[in-house]
Symmetry: C2
Subunit: 236 residues, 2 copies
């Protein structure tokens, strides 16, 4: 299947502008920015919704998101026992699950050949479960990069607290460590891709970047993470 470059470029334009909208309203994971910019600087790549890794509490019968489950707490930096106080005070509709997920990166390329090269490199950075998800002439070759960093803990079923107040800090410690492992894999991915991208620079993106002068773009993901949470991230 051949990608329709004209239509594909319109989508690139749309998603590129969305990055900056999300950035300005504070919706974008800031540690993602260096990687997103690096990928988009290549003429044959655009990124879509991605995540730098996070800890959430889900209220549901299962920890994966579905209609009858909802995220009641979310953090992209390590959490403290104070953050999870509510678990002991408020009864969930169903159950409280603590969930940590590593980074998930979505992007599209104009060719399968390029997609497979990037996949191979991503795997060396610890994104083992990555693959080509779809291929279409307007959306391009769509890729998900994902690590195996994922843990859940059932904390409370209705009124039945399963992990005591005195043990919760150990669970939090373990989950924070996993979160940070995820952030390091994001850093590794950035380093691996930086050696190789952009293959063919995208002149529109280059021009815009020069006019925007965003400080964060000159940092690496882990620099930004440390800026966001300081000692909490280094020592967890």
């Amino acid at each position: 299947m051949r990608v329709n470059y004209e239509k594909w470029s319109l989508r690139k334009r749309y998603f590129w502008l969305r990055i900056w909208e999300d950035y300005e309203i504070g919706y974008l994971d800031r540690e993602l920015l260096p990687l997103l910019v690096l990928l988009n600087r290549d003429r044959d790549i655009y990124t879509t919704s991605s995540c730098s890794g996070r800890i959430v509490v889900v209220d549901g019968n299962v920890p994966w998101i579905r209609e009858e489950a909802s995220v009641v707490f979310k953090s992209h930096i390590p959490v403290t026992t104070v953050d999870l106080d509510f678990v002991f005070r408020e009864t969930p509709h169903r159950s409280y699950w603590l969930v940590v997920t590593g980074p998930i990166i979505h992007f599209s390329t104009t060719s399968l050949r390029k997609a497979l090269k990037l996949l191979k490199r991503a795997r060396t950075a610890g994104f083992k479960h990555s693959g080509v998800m779809h291929v279409s002439s307007t959306r391009g070759v769509f890729i998900e990069l994902i690590t195996g960093v994922y843990m859940t803990q059932l904390l409370r079923i209705q009124d039945n607290v399963l992990v005591s107040l005195s043990d919760i800090n150990k669970v939090i410690f373990t989950f924070n460590k996993a979160l940070i492992e995820g952030k390091w894999r994001l850093q590794k991915l950035y380093e691996v891709f930086r050696k190789y991208l952009p293959e063919t620079p995208d002149p529109i993106i280059e021009t815009e970047l020069n006019s925007r002068e965003i400080r964060l773009v000159k940092l690496t993901p882990i620099d930004i993470f440390y800026e966001m949470c300081g000692d909490l991230c280094r020592t967890a």
Copy 2:
């Protein structure tokens, strides 16, 4: 990239014979057999190592498998509190994690077109995280089908038991339900693929199947699951 059909067929032959070796020594997940046979009956598909979904206990700092972690308990059917007695009696080297994973199916096709068609259908059966992992001329277009069914529970860190003996049954109940949800997705996948496969029957496989007369091949995955664990599976 074009697949070298001759070399690809040799690999199909190898993996097909391995299914029956594994079956005979009891190493194969029996519920997988109808799906594996269905896929291999198509001339342009062969399957490799797959899993029907399981519950394990991992001894490690993290629940994902790596060098310094090991599986100390494994079950493809629902577990009971008796199965997990050892968690309270024996100290782990690191930590005990209870982990449930849904089915994971690996297969190769001779064309990207076919791979993408199968991926699309698999997604409708709840295998949302599936994708093309590799492409090579001898191995073909290699696909992983995977669901989001995955939970972990940190049960014990060294001498510190985090989920009490009186609560473990609730955790087990929840994990058993997830295991069964995974088995139903396997059943759904089988039903979705059965409407469509084999597109072009593989004459060698058809001849062999007739000579083998394996009873299980005539059942569906969920039939076999029920045969394996009876009421435990229906009521969990």
